[in-house]
C-alpha cells in the first residue's frame, strides 16, 4: 500500500540539499541544548517540575480555563471560546471587521497554522503579514512551516538570498546572514507602520493573574502585540497554567530545550490593554481559546499526556526520522514525534494514523522531552487504538486501520507462539527447508541482504549441548 505519506517520504529522502540543511540545523540545536543543561541533576529536577506543572494544567483544565477567563476579563482582555479552527477563524475575522481593518500583522503562532488562518483571511480579503523571519521566508516561498519553532529551517542561506532578490528587487542585494536579516528588518519595519491590528500566539497563559506569556528572539512579537491598537492572541486551551510562580521553570525548560538559550531575547508578559495614562500598548486585547479536539484528547488518562507539550521541538530535533524527512513530508501542521502523537488524535487515526507507525520507537524524543511525555509509549498506544475497535475509546478513528487479513495473520502468529510444540515444529520445518529460503524478501532486501535461517534452531542445539529444560 503506497500512501501519500509514503510517497512524500520517498521524495523527501531524495532531496539531498534539504536533508543536508535540516541535518546541519538539527545537529546545531542538539548540541546547543546539551550545552544548556550542563548539570544533569538540575535538568532532571526541572523536568520533574515541568511534568508536574503541566500535568496539573491538564488535569485541572476546565477549572483553570474558567479562572483564566475571569482573570483576563478583570484585566480588560476579552475572552472568546472556539470549538474548532473554523470557529476561531470566524472570531478573528469578526474582530478585524468590527475594527474596520484589512491587514493583520502576525507574530509566529502554530495555533494560527492549525486554524489555517492566513488562507481564511485571504479569502475574506484581509492580508496576513507574517513578521517572524522564518515565517516571512516561507510565506514568500509559498510553503508551510517545516519545523514548529524554526519554520524555514529547511532552507539554506543561498535559497533565502534568492527568495529575497525575487521578492524585494528594490533592496540592495544581500548574501551574508547579517545582510539578509538587515534586509528583512528594513522591509518589515516599513510594514509595521500604520498597522492597526496584530495577532500573536501564546506560550503560556496564567490562570491566577490573567497574564499571557510570549517568548521570541526578534522583537517582532512585541511589536505585533504593542504597536497596533488591536491585539488578538490565539492559544490552544492546554497552554493554561495555574500560577505565575510556575512560569519561570517552564520558561527555562522551554528556551533551553528549544534553542539552548538560557532565556529568549524577548519575554513578553501581556496583562491587558493600555490603561488610562499609559503611553503605549493596544487599546483592545482579545484572547481566543481554541479547543479543536483537545478536550477529547484529555478524556483518555494515558493519551492526555500529549497535552503537556510546551512546543519546544526538542523531540523533532533529536528524532532520527524527522532529521531525515524534514517537516514537509509529514504533510501536517505538527511534524516529528509530537506531531506523530498529536495529529492522529486531532484528526483521527483513519487520516493520520500512519504517522504513529513512522517511528522505530528509539526513545530519543522521550529522553529529551522537558515535560516527560512518554512519546514512544503513546505511539504504541495509538497503534493499538488504530487496530483495536473498542467501542468506548475516545480516540478518533479507533479501529479504523484494522485490516482483516493482517489481524488474521497476527492471530495465527500468536497461536503459534502460545503453543510451544507448534512453534518448535514450525522452526524445525523452517530450518529443514532452509535451502528453499528466498533471497529476496521485500521490502527488506531492497537495501539489505536477508539473514539466512540456521541449519538447526537454538531449541534443538541447546538440548543437544546438554542444557537442561527445567530445574
Amino acid at each position: 500500500m503506497t500512501t501519500e505519506f509514503r510517497l512524500a517520504i520517498g521524495a523527501a529522502l531524495g532531496r539531498e540539499r534539504v536533508r543536508a540543511n535540516i541535518r546541519k540545523a538539527m545537529d546545531g540545536l542538539v548540541s546547543k541544548r546539551a550545552a544548556a543543561f550542563p548539570d544533569a541533576d538540575e535538568r532532571e529536577r526541572l523536568r520533574d517540575q515541568g511534568e508536574a506543572i503541566r500535568g496539573e494544567s491538564v488535569s485541572r483544565l476546565p477549572e483553570l480555563l474558567e479562572e483564566l477567563e475571569r482573570s483576563c476579563t478583570r484585566n480588560g482582555i476579552q475572552v472568546h471560546w472556539a470549538e474548532t479552527g473554523e470557529d476561531a477563524n470566524r472570531l478573528v475575522l469578526d474582530i478585524l471587521r468590527h475594527a474596520g481593518t484589512t491587514a493583520l500583522l502576525k507574530g509566529k503562532s502554530m495555533v494560527s497554522e492549525e486554524m489555517g488562518l492566513n488562507e481564511y483571511l485571504q479569502h475574506a480579503g484581509i492580508e496576513a503579514v507574517e513578521t517572524d523571519l522564518g515565517e516571512l521566508i516561507i510565506q514568500l516561498a509559498g510553503e508551510a512551516p517545516s519545523h514548529i519553532i524554526a519554520p524555514a529551517i529547511h532552507k539554506d542561506r543561498a535559497e533565502i538570498a534568492a527568495l529575497f532578490r525575487e521578492h524585494y528587487p528594490d533592496q540592495p542585494p544581500a548574501e551574508r546572514i547579517e545582510e539578509l536579516t538587515a534586509l528583512a528588518r528594513r522591509v518589515m519595519r516599513k510594514r509595521f507602520r500604520g498597522m492597526t491590528a496584530g495577532l500573536s500566539g501564546v506560550n503560556f497563559a496564567v490562570a491566577e493573574t490573567g497574564t499571557l506569556c510570549l517568548v521570541e528572539n526578534e522583537g517582532n512579537g512585541r511589536l505585533c502585540t504593542t504597536l497596533p491598537d488591536l491585539h488578538i492572541a490565539v492559544m490552544g486551551i492546554e497552554k493554561v497554567v495555574a500560577r505565575l510562580d510556575q512560569i519561570p521553570p517552564l520558561l527555562t525548560l522551554l528556551t533551553r530545550s528549544a534553542t539552548g538559550q538560557p532565556i529568549t531575547t524577548y519575554v513578553n508578559f501581556i496583562s491587558g490593554p493600555r490603561r488610562p495614562g499609559e503611553q503605549d500598548g493596544p487599546r483592545a486585547v482579545h484572547l481566543i481559546l481554541l479547543d479543536n479536539g483537545r478536550s477529547r484528547i484529555r478524556l483518555d488518562p494515558e493519551l492526555s499526556a500529549t497535552l503537556r507539550c510546551i512546543r519546544c521541538a526538542a523531540c523533532m530535533n533529536h528524532c532520527p526520522v524527522y532529521t531525515r524527512l524534514g517537516g514537509h513530508a509529514y504533510g501536517t501542521v505538527y511534524p516529528g514525534p509530537i506531531g506523530s502523537i498529536l495529529e492522529p488524535q486531532l484528526h483521527g487515526l483513519a487520516e493520520r494514523g500512519e504517522m504513529a507507525e513512522a517511528s522505530s520507537l528509539c526513545g530519543a524524543c522521550a529522553e529529551v522531552c522537558p515535560v516527560r511525555i512518554p512519546i514512544p509509549r503513546l505511539l504504541n498506544r495509538l497503534r493499538f487504538e488504530a487496530v483495536n475497535a473498542q467501542a468506548d475509546s475516545p480516540t478518533l478513528g479507533h479501529g479504523s486501520r484494522r485490516l482483516a487479513g493482517q489481524a488474521g495473520l497476527w492471530r495465527l502468529w500468536a497461536w503459534t507462539c502460545a503453543h510451544p510444540r507448534i512453534y518448535r515444529t514450525l522452526t524445525r520445518l523452517m530450518t529443514a527447508l532452509r535451502p528453499l529460503q528466498p533471497t529476496r524478501i521485500k521490502p527488506w532486501t531492497d537495501t539489505r541482504e536477508a539473514p539466512r535461517i540456521a541449519d538447526q534452531d537454538l531449541h534443538r542445539q541447546a538440548r543437544a549441548a546438554g542444557f537442561t529444560d527445567r530445574l
Binding site: 531525515r324 529522553e367 516527560r372 497476527w410 502460545a418 510451544p420 531449541h459 541447546a462 542444557f467
Partner: protein, 295 residues
C-alpha cells in the same frame, strides 16, 4: 531445590534503577545517585545476597531461528562462570512484534506462554536488550489489571539483560586470548534508553585487554531497525541504516558488536549489500570467541 535467591533485586542492578521507557533522564539521575553510593551497593550485594547458582536463559526467537550460535555462546559464558543454565523448551517469542504493531491481545497471549515457560523464581537472562525490555518493562503494563498481573510483575523483576548480568551481577573477569583488534560497539536504543545497560556492555568489553573499543559518530542514534518499522517504513529505515553503516565503517573497526541481533541483522544486511564493512557479531559470541581456548 530452592535457588539461592532470597529476593530478586540483586540480579537486576540496573533494572531496579530504570524500567521506564525512554525516560532515561530519570534513570540517569538515579544511576548518578547510585554511582555516589556505589561501594555501598556492592557491599550490600555481597553482604546480604548470594550469587544465583542457576539461571534461566531466554534465547529470543530471532536468535532461535537465525543466530543460534549467539545463543549457545551466551549460555556457555554463563556456564563457564559456574552457573547451571536452564533453557526451557517451552519458550518461544517475547511478543514484541505484535505489541509494537498494536495487537495487544495477541501479544498478551504470547506473554502468558512465556510466564508459563519460566515458572521458578530464578533470574531470566536475555541476550537482547530489546526483548529484555519487552519482558521487563512492557509485560507488567500489558498484563496490568489481568489475572496475570502479579505474575508478570514478579517475572519482570527476574529478567536481566545478558551483559548487565555478566558485568554487574557476576562481575565476570575476562582473559583476552585474541590478537589486538579495534571493535565498534553499537549500543541498541533499548540498551541505552529503555534498560540503561549500555554502560555495562562497555564495561564488560573493556575487560578484554587487547580490544580497542570505538563508537561510531552519532552513537546515540537508532540504526533504523525498529522491528516491524523496517517493514512498515522501509525507506526511512534504509536511510537510517545507510547512515549508521557509514558511521561504523568510518571507525575502521574490524568487528561490529551489539547487544541486539535485530540491529546487527539490519546493519549486517546493509553492509553485505553495500560490500565491505566489519565482521558482525553479537557481543556474547565475540566475547566467547575471544576468551575460549579452542578458538
Amino acid at each position: 531445590m530452592r535457588p539461592d535467591v532470597e529476593s530478586p533485586p540483586h540480579f537486576q542492578p540496573s533494572g531496579t534503577l530504570s524500567g521506564t521507557i525512554g525516560e532515561s533522564g530519570r534513570r540517569t539521575r538515579l544511576v548518578r545517585g547510585r554511582a555516589a553510593g556505589d561501594t555501598v551497593d556492592r557491599a550490600r550485594t555481597t553482604e546480604h545476597l548470594k550469587m544465583p547458582n542457576t539461571v534461566y536463559f531466554f534465547g529470543t526467537c530471532l536468535i532461535d531461528l537465525l543466530f543460534p550460535r549467539t545463543g549457545l555462546a551466551a549460555m556457555r559464558l554463563l556456564e563457564r562462570a559456574g552457573l547451571r543454565v536452564i533453557f526451557p523448551q517451552g519458550q518461544t517469542c517475547c511478543g514484541q512484534p505484535a505489541y509494537n504493531t498494536g495487537y495487544r491481545d495477541e501479544a498478551r497471549r504470547v506473554a502468558r506462554a512465556q510466564l508459563d515457560a519460566f515458572p521458578e523464581s530464578l533470574p531470566v537472562v536475555v541476550p537482547s536488550a530489546s526483548c529484555a525490555g519487552m519482558l521487563k518493562v512492557h509485560y507488567p503494563l500489558l498484563l496490568a489489571g489481568t489475572a496475570d498481573a502479579a505474575r508478570a510483575d514478579a517475572f519482570a523483576g527476574r529478567v536481566v539483560e545478558l551483559t548487565d548480568f555478566l558485568t554487574r551481577v557476576l562481575d565476570l573477569r575476562l582473559t583476552d586470548r585474541g590478537p589486538p583488534i579495534r571493535v565498534a560497539v553499537h549500543n541498541s536504543c533499548s540498551s541505552r534508553r529503555e534498560l540503561g545497560v549500555a554502560d555495562a556492555t562497555m564495561e564488560l568489553l573493556r575487560r578484554l585487554a587487547r580490544v580497542e573499543l570505538v563508537e561510531p559518530e552519532r552513537a546515540h542514534e537508532c540504526c533504523g531497525f525498529g522491528g516491524t518499522f523496517a517493514i512498515k517504513q522501509p525507506e526511512i529505515s534504509a536511510a537510517m541504516a545507510a547512515d549508521k553503516t557509514s558511521a561504523v565503517a568510518a571507525t575502521g573497526a574490524a568487528v561490529l558488536v551489539s547487544q541486539d541481533c535485530g540491529c546487527l541483522m539490519n546493519l549486517g544486511g546493509t553492509f553485505a549489500r553495500r560490500g565491505g564493512g566489519p565482521v558482525i557479531k553479537h557481543v556474547a559470541e565475540f566475547i566467547w570467541e575471544r576468551t575460549s581456548h579452542d578458538d
